[in-house]
């Protein structure tokens, strides 16, 4: 039971981290119709910028400044890159962001090399916050939960309660009408892209010390992020939240419980073949849950697409 609780919390951390990426991606997608393939690259940039700043001024300055730099960079990409490609249609836009993801990875290797950076959590948070039956829970993960929750609530407040949020929501559905009412819709687009990438950057800043700051971190998380928003339903913010949490828990529990296929098969009534390493079904017999953990999100995506093509909470058929 205690282990279960710890896994619930760990899964929550992973899920909320995913959601910090997915929420920005979903906002950008529902507004501009473009799926930002380079979104996870902005997450990586956030981690690297924060690392660089933290070597000079310490962690907290990096936490504040790095997301802003990423956001400004993202807005500039929208203004001078994406807007240029926009006239060719959505597929070239996607190809552009794909190229951008490649380029950002190369640029990061150009400056910081291929090895992992020594980016770690601040001293102030390097203690166990509490323990559940002997399993201690680090304070830094509590901090991560609070940052993600705070970000989500702020986003929700801005989108639903403020005038800017109203304009953004209106621009999502009827950009022409909003433009005719005198709002600067391209500026809104640029702002949303900037804020979305800044959120990805913030996720990178707080995830860097836990998941490692290395050139492969964008690829590692990138595909999972896309799978998540497809499962949640493209363009649905609540769907993204639900799917992020599901995937967070799915991955944490799969890694924590060592269920072996052998036990299940034996329980069902099969007998294990004598010479397992020459047997054609050796993989089936030696399979364990932690082994298939990484592919569970993709399997879930295929199931969701076959059974419910619009995603868990998507409105339109995808």
């Amino acid at each position: 039971m205690a282990l279960f609780l710890v896994n619930i919390l760990d899964g929550l951390v992973t899920g909320l981290l995913l959601f910090m990426l997915c929420s920005g991606l979903t906002l950008i997608f529902s507004m501009m119709g473009v799926l930002n393939f380079a979104h996870a690259s902005f997450y990586m940039l956030g981690a690297y910028f924060a690392y660089q700043i933290s070597t000079i001024t310490g962690f907290w300055m990096g936490l504040l400044v790095a997301p802003i730099i990423v956001g400004v960079f993202g807005a500039a990409i929208e203004r001078y890159g994406l807007r240029r490609v926009h006239k060719y249609g959505h597929v070239p836009e996607l190809i552009f962001t794909f190229g951008l993801a490649l380029l950002i990875e190369e640029v990061i290797q150009f400056f910081w090399g291929k090895s992992q950076m020594a980016y770690s959590e601040p001293e102030a948070l390097n203690f166990a916050a509490f323990a559940i039956a002997g399993n201690s829970f680090p304070a830094y993960k509590v901090f991560m939960i609070f940052v993600a929750m705070g970000l989500f609530l702020t986003l929700l407040y801005i989108l639903t309660k403020t005038r800017i949020g109203m304009t953004i929501q209106a621009a999502l559905s009827y950009p022409e009408t909003v433009q005719n009412l005198g709002h600067n819709v391209p500026l809104v687009f640029m702002g949303v892209f900037g804020v979305g990438t800044a959120m990805a950057g913030l996720a990178g800043v707080i995830a860097g010390p836990v998941l490692g700051t290395f050139p492969g971190m964008a690829v590692q998380l990138g595909s999972i992020v896309f799978v998540t928003i497809v499962i949640g339903g493209l363009g649905s913010l609540w769907g993204a939240l639900v799917a992020s949490l599901i995937i967070g828990w799915l991955q944490t529990f799969a890694a924590a419980y060592n269920v072996a296929m052998e036990d299940i098969l034996t329980a069902v009534g099969f007998t294990k073949p004598e010479n397992i390493w020459d047997h054609p079904l050796q993989d089936l017999w030696t399979l364990t849950l932690p082994q298939i953990g990484p592919i569970l999100p993709y399997l879930l995506m295929v199931f969701v697409l076959v059974l419910r093509p619009q995603g868990l909470m998507g409105k339109r058929e995808t």
Partner: protein, 430 residues
């Protein structure tokens, strides 16, 4: 009268399909490819040419989706990889279980398996085009790449599976041990696959795929199911990707997870787009240029993929037609007989443009060396000159050169623009 003209209109395309003028380029290409080993005899040159041929087949099959069907796939390596893995298993069955199959027919098997998986996966992924299709192809690609590490019996885990191509029955006394014999096998399959893919683009289904790409709603009103049309192109594309995979298996005799993963899928998108998705020859140009760049640049610089990334992003931003598109832009001046107007300005810009590219690359190389050289290793050589990369002289000098050449290019550009407008302007000069 009207019936006569109608039959003529109908029979015309058929006649054009097999007319001499259409056959000629193919015959030339075939002759050229068959003569190539007489010029380049070294084994490394043959390997590069084989690699090129495989990449061409793969890129053409990718363009059946992206260029002709409007489907952006991030997981096309799956069909090439699966076709290759099955071909490799069949090759091993030939060796160990005495299955009778001459090597030249192996690509058909791989192709059929690629086709089968495209049929299976396409049944749900081709429901929509655009972004949704792209995301599903990415997810499925990651799924199968991850599975390939888990299912060791079939995929061989991290070291992959290997085989021996020479164990099958000999064909006309050839056992395919020599690189040149494999070259001829690969080239013949390249020609067959290219001709078939070209013909596919001319069939009604190929034409309707274009229609669905351009406007799926209108195609539906004409009575075509957009989903069926996309599915059929997808299946055909899977077949040719499987052929490319089998050719890979025959050439390199080893397949690993790398043949299925996202990086391979991404690079085929890059190759196809650089070559030009709007033209049948685009992927061919892209594959040739990319393989050359990879082998040549890879020899000289560590950061060649950074250059590739820059080239790709600027291609998407400024030349969405790719290399083939740039060539095709000159068709109108050629038709107007005004191509000669462009020679002068082009000649003028060549040297400054080349200088600016080289000096910008030098800036990158010097800064990279400065950042990543170990200890006291300050010496670097570039373009045949050896100097101290940590001093300010070298970097300052290249920056000055870059600035001057870029300035010159910017001065010449307006005259190119004027010449271009003039060359595309029908009628006499004003």
């Amino acid at each position: 009268m009207s019936t006569a003209s109608k039959t003529q209109a109908v029979s015309n395309p058929n006649r054009r399909l097999i007319s001499l003028s259409n056959l000629l380029p193919w015959a030339f290409a075939a002759l050229f490819l068959l003569c190539l080993p007489l010029i380049f005899q070294s084994s490394s040159a043959l390997t590069i040419m084989n690699q090129m041929a495989i990449t061409i087949v793969f890129a053409l099959s990718y363009n059946m989706l992206l260029g002709q069907g409007g489907m952006l796939s991030f997981g096309h390596a799956v069909y090439m990889g699966l076709g290759g893995f099955f071909a490799m298993h069949v090759m091993n069955m030939v060796e160990y279980e005495g299955l009778w199959l001459p090597l030249p027919f192996l690509p058909v098997i791989g192709g059929l398996f690629g086709m089968f998986f495209a049929f299976l996966i396409g049944s749900f992924s081709t429901r929509r085009a655009g972004t949704v299709f792209a995301m599903i192809s990415l997810g499925v690609g990651e799924l199968i790449a991850a599975c390939s590490i888990i299912i060791v019996v079939f995929f061989g885990g991290e070291e992959g599976i290997s085989g021996d191509r020479t164990m099958g029955p000999e064909v006309l006394g050839v056992d395919f041990a020599a690189q040149s014999e494999v070259y001829y096998l690969t080239v013949i399959w390249l020609l067959i696959a290219t001709v078939l893919m070209y013909l596919f683009s001319r069939t009604p289904i190929g034409r309707i795929a274009n229609a669905v790409r351009d406007n799926e709603e209108r195609a539906e009103f004409l009575g075509y199911s957009q989903r069926r049309v996309r599915w059929m192109s997808f299946i055909a594309s899977g077949f040719f990707a499987g052929i490319a995979g089998s050719l890979f298996a025959i050439n390199f005799e080893i397949l690993t997870e790398e043949n299925l993963n996202l990086a391979t899928s991404g690079s085929i998108l890059l190759i196809t787009f650089l070559g030009g998705v709007g033209f049948f020859v685009g992927p061919i140009i892209g594959a040739i240029v990319f393989t050359l760049l990879q082998t040549v640049l890879g020899l000289y610089t560590e950061i060649w993929s950074l250059y590739l990334g820059i080239l790709f992003v600027s291609c998407v931003m400024f030349f969405p037609g790719g290399f083939a598109g740039i060539i095709a832009m000159h068709r109108r001046p050629l038709a107007l007989g005004k191509l000669n107007l462009l020679f002068g300005p082009y000649l003028k810009v060549v040297i400054p443009a080349l200088t600016s590219v080289l000096s910008l690359a030098a800036i990158l190389e010097i800064s990279f060396h400065k950042r990543h050289s170990f200890g006291d290793d300050h010496e670097m050589s570039l373009y045949g000159i050896t100097f101290d990369s940590h001093g300010y002289q070298a970097l300052g000098f290249t920056i000055v050169i870059a600035a001057i050449s870029l300035f010159l290019v910017s001065r010449i550009l307006p005259s190119i623009k004027a010449a271009w407008d003039e060359a595309n302007h029908a009628g006499d000069a004003q």
